[in-house]
């Protein structure tokens, strides 16, 4: 088998719902503990110990929810699109399930980012909503999530639903670079990124360290909820197989 040389073994193992169920079961408690630790610690640090901003005072603290939620909404979409591509190319059932499970989580993150942004925008900018490129592209991301969810539940046949939503997820992928670079390509009211991987953050360390903790905490939270939804989905779709019946009988 020549293909094994450049595609690792775990990739094919992931294709087995049973293996996937078992490995996520082992990973889940670790991720849950880390999530709890990071989110609790990060929240206390961000709200009580991080210094206030010189212009906005304490209202800037909403950044500790807004930025992680916005990052996660985009990361979850990219994961969804990759899962869609894998599902289309390799016809992997687990990839279809990942796509279906990631959509509602990503949609809630997008809602959280839009809401916290609006709440911050009213006192800071003087407006709840402005139709600038960043805000509009983020709203489109939310609608794309809704579209994927709607397609998935509207089509009865599981594999047709997966195919249709995978194509939609891939088409919507073009929106991700638009969101990211909207603040650089066009004049927008939204400020450019404070926090990037490549550059020094435009805030002092005692402000961005709790933000980093919150971002990692949000990623872990996403992993936890994705794994839980995925496990539910696996059990439901494999309900007629021997190993699931055995599992249910044991309980």
């Amino acid at each position: 088998m020549a293909e094994k040389k450049w595609i690792p073994r775990w990739f094919y193992q992931l294709a087995s719902p049973r293996w996937c169920y078992q490995i996520t079961g082992k990973l889940l408690p670790w991720f849950m503990g880390t999530t709890l630790l990071l989110l609790l610690g990060g929240t206390v640090w961000a709200l009580l110990f991080a210094p206030a901003d010189y212009q906005q005072g304490n209202s800037f603290r909403i950044i500790y929810l807004h930025v992680p939620a916005a990052i996660l909404a985009q990361s979850a979409y990219m994961l969804m699109a990759v899962a869609g591509a894998v599902g289309l190319i390799w016809k992997m059932k687990v990839a279809d399930m990942v796509l279906k499970s990631a959509a509602p989580i990503g949609a809630s993150m997008a809602v959280l980012a839009l809401l916290t942004g609006a709440i911050w925008g009213k006192p800071t900018w003087g407006s709840w909503w402005v139709w600038d490129a960043r805000l509009t592209s983020m709203l489109i991301l939310f609608f794309l999530y809704l579209g994927v969810m709607a397609l998935n539940s509207a089509i009865e046949n599981e594999s047709t639903a997966a195919q249709a939503s995978a194509v939609l997820a891939l088409v919507g992928l073009v929106n991700i670079p638009i969101i990211k670079y909207s603040v650089e390509w066009w004049n927008t009211l939204h400020q450019p990124a404070t926090f990037t991987l490549t550059e020094k953050p435009a805030m002092p360390v005692e402000m961005w360290l709790p933000l980093l903790v919150m971002v990692i905490g949000f990623y872990c939270f996403f992993a936890v909820s994705l794994m839980q939804r995925l496990r539910n989905e696996i059990i439901w779709r494999e309900r007629r197989t021997g190993w699931v019946r055995e599992l249910l009988n044991k309980q």
């Binding site: 010189y54 190319i89 073009v174 638009i178």
Partner: protein, 153 residues
């Protein structure tokens, strides 16, 4: 990879690249319309349409704010460090409005070349810092001013 999978891989790549190119070209064609505001230089060069509602963005010029003591009328100048536009507004200004702050005003240009604003929004930059740091930086004259560059695009 089996030929069948390879074929589907190319199909997926075709979708992503094809949509990317078409949306990219559309946005490129629309690029002016997506901008939220015109800079004072663009307005001075006549790029902003007359007799219709536009947005103008710039930094509030130091010492240019004139308030009417009996009403909410306020007049100020905005600049991109090249050209300047005068803005007149009646209403409540956002918290962050001050001299040297980046703002976006929506309204229409009148015959005197003054923008009659119906809405004034404050633009925040990406810099956050504690008050003590801001004070120290201002004293040393090293306050970052990225908004100016941005309005000067």
């Amino acid at each position: 990879m089996t030929p069948k999978r390879k074929q589907r891989l190319f199909l997926v790549l075709f979708i992503v690249v094809g949509v990317g190119i078409s949306v990219g070209l559309t946005l490129f064609a629309l690029s002016q319309n997506i901008n939220l505001f015109y800079s004072p230089t663009q307005i001075a060069a006549g790029e902003a349409p007359q007799d219709t509602r536009i947005r103008a963005g710039g930094m509030v010029v130091e010492g240019s704010i004139k308030r009417d003591p009996d009403s909410l009328f306020v007049s100020f100048e905005i600049t991109d460090y090249d050209k300047t536009v005068t803005v007149e507004y009646v209403g409540i200004l956002p918290d962050l409005f001050r001299e040297g702050q980046g703002i976006v005003a929506q309204g229409s240009m009148n015959e005197h070349g003054v923008l009659d604003a119906v809405e004034v929004l404050a633009k925040h930059d990406e810099n956050y810092m504690p008050p003590e740091v801001a004070e120290a930086l201002a004293k040393a004259g090293k306050m970052p001013m990225p908004e100016g560059q941005e309005f000067n695009k």
